[in-house]
């Protein structure tokens, strides 16, 4: 598994009362080419017409950035292709394209950034903002209704750096309401610095959400334009270890203990017997936490050094079902399965150690608690994490 992770996510709030956005964000990960392309486009106006313009732009930009045509040339093609608005006699939509390339080992992350008429993107190393040079090219297109300038820049990104892109719904929020001139680039930059200082590891999902929510609040919670923000964050992957089932032999218990001890990341133990083994190995107490359970999922326990200790099969199947159905976390009952899912969604790489000891016969033959079932459920868990949430997973049997 890689030791560097490119965390790309975005958040969006539509103009108040609109069901469709005039801002369109597209993301493709192309692992075969070691390329990630993120495109943000804002179409003229709002609603359906703007959405069509922005979608066209974003899709063209996206396609073209995968082709050998230079990005500047691509930009011209895009603008020549856009349909012209009947009333205003112009065709117009803005775009920002971040074309990200990396080596096989994820080192050397290089970004080619093309910006056209969106607010300038921002870069941060930790909470410090980075200034960099852009090359500006005037397009001089025939029939252009205004001066068209494309800004291009290339730079490397290191661990701990962020690139933040947004539509003008962000910079112009609060305009004429809470702020006479709107939030503006300086305000946004200051806010992001504060957010990162307060929470240095903030994920792209959380940071982009914080920014659009703040913008919406400045608009008095009735957004005057589509508000969209994209964050690219280069960081160490977040790892989680799931241990489920007792090891096949007693001797392997020690090995399990070592593996848990040496693991760098969040740790989940799922299964009553497994939890007892781990508690014994670590010389720690297990305490059942009666405040967190539901009729489907038994209470979790607390153990020092382990982030979450749950019952086994009932909890795991609930977790798998939620992931397969992409259930909204907020709608899940407050039980250990919910906590489990929260930890998983917050991780990039999930390693699972499956103990292969067959449980002593259960008194109720209806309770499927044997290794075959465990294998099946783990296979489903991996599939759901990989396909629905693009997580990396690995498994080992002990």
């Amino acid at each position: 598994m890689n030791n560097i992770f490119i965390d790309v996510d975005y958040a969006q709030i539509y103009k108040h009362g609109q069901k469709i956005g005039g801002d369109v964000f597209l993301l493709s990960r192309n692992p075969e080419n070691n390329q990630i392309v993120a495109t943000l486009s804002d179409g003229l106006g709002s609603g359906v017409k703007a959405n069509v313009l922005a979608s066209l732009t974003a899709h063209m930009a996206h396609k073209l950035s995968f082709s050998p045509i230079s990005l500047e040339h691509s930009a011209e093609i895009i603008m020549d292709t856009l349909p012209v608005c009947k009333e205003r006699k112009i065709s117009y939509s803005t775009f920002t394209i971040a074309d990200i390339h990396y080596n096989d080992d994820m080192e050397n992350i290089a970004v080619n950034l093309i910006e056209y008429d969106n607010p300038a993107s921002l870069r941060f190393s930790g909470a410090e903002d980075i200034k960099w040079d852009r090359t500006r090219t005037e397009l001089k297109r025939e029939g252009a209704f205004k001066k068209e300038t494309i800004a291009q820049s290339s730079f490397k990104m290191d661990i701990g750096e962020r690139l933040v892109m947004f539509s003008d719904g962000v910079t112009q929020s609060g305009l004429g309401k809470s702020l006479p001139l709107g939030w503006r680039l300086d305000g946004v930059r200051k806010f992001i610095k504060e957010e990162i200082s307060a929470n240095p590891d903030i994920s792209s999902r959380e940071l982009s959400r914080a920014i659009v929510q703040k913008a919406c609040a400045l608009d008095g919670f009735s957004s005057k334009d589509d508000i969209t923000c994209v964050v690219v964050y280069i960081r160490r992957p977040r790892r989680t270890l799931i241990v489920t089932g007792p090891p096949f032999t007693k001797e392997a218990d020690e090995i399990l203990g070592e593996k848990i001890r040496n693991f760098n990341g969040k740790k989940i133990v799922s299964g009553g017997t497994t939890a007892q083994i781990v508690a014994r190995l670590f010389g720690k107490k297990l305490k059942v936490d009666l405040s967190c359970w539901s009729p489907d999922v038994p209470p979790a326990s607390k153990m020092e050094g382990i982030d979450l200790v749950t019952e086994g099969m009932l909890t795991l199947s609930k977790v798998v079902t939620a992931l397969e159905k992409k259930e909204n976390i907020a709608d899940m009952p407050n039980d250990p399965a919910k906590k489990f899912v929260e930890i998983l969604l917050d991780s990039d790489q999930i390693h699972i150690i499956v103990g292969t000891k067959i449980n002593e016969a259960h008194q109720d033959p209806n309770i499927p608690f044997e290794i075959g079932i465990r294998r099946t459920i783990i296979a489903r868990l991996r599939k759901a994490l990989e396909e629905n949430y693009i997580k990396e997973t690995s498994v080992e049997y002990l």
């Binding site: 009553g272 017997t273 939890a275 007892q276 297990l286 305490k287 059942v288 009666l290 359970w293 009729p295 038994p298 209470p299 326990s301 019952e311 086994g312 099969m313 009932l314 002593e360 016969a361 259960h362 008194q363 109720d364 309770i367 608690f369």
Partner: protein, 85 residues
């Protein structure tokens, strides 16, 4: 001297939880407050009773003694007696 509280452990292993243990966790709703006040109730992992055979889940341990087939009604009765002793 104050009477020590009755120590109660409800088994929350998988077998017990699905066969009625979950109902017992609602003890705040069905136990009389006076009884509740004299008990110290906690959950515990598998009491190993389901593995030895004999007895029906869910299992509950009251002052060190194991009881089986504990429904809400049985639970009430057992605790009332234990508190009186």
């Amino acid at each position: 001297m104050k009477k020590p509280k009755v120590k109660v452990r409800i088994c929350l292993g998988t077998a017990c939880f699905v066969q009625g243990g979950a109902d017992l966790l609602l003890y705040n709703d069905f136990l009389e407050p006076e009884v509740l006040a004299d008990c110290e109730i906690e959950g515990c992992s598998c009491l190993e009773q389901c593995k030895v055979g004999g007895g029906q889940a869910p299992f509950v341990e009251i002052n060190g003694k194991i009881y089986d087939g504990v429904t809400q009604d049985v639970f009430c009765k057992l605790l009332k007696e234990a508190v009186k002793e």
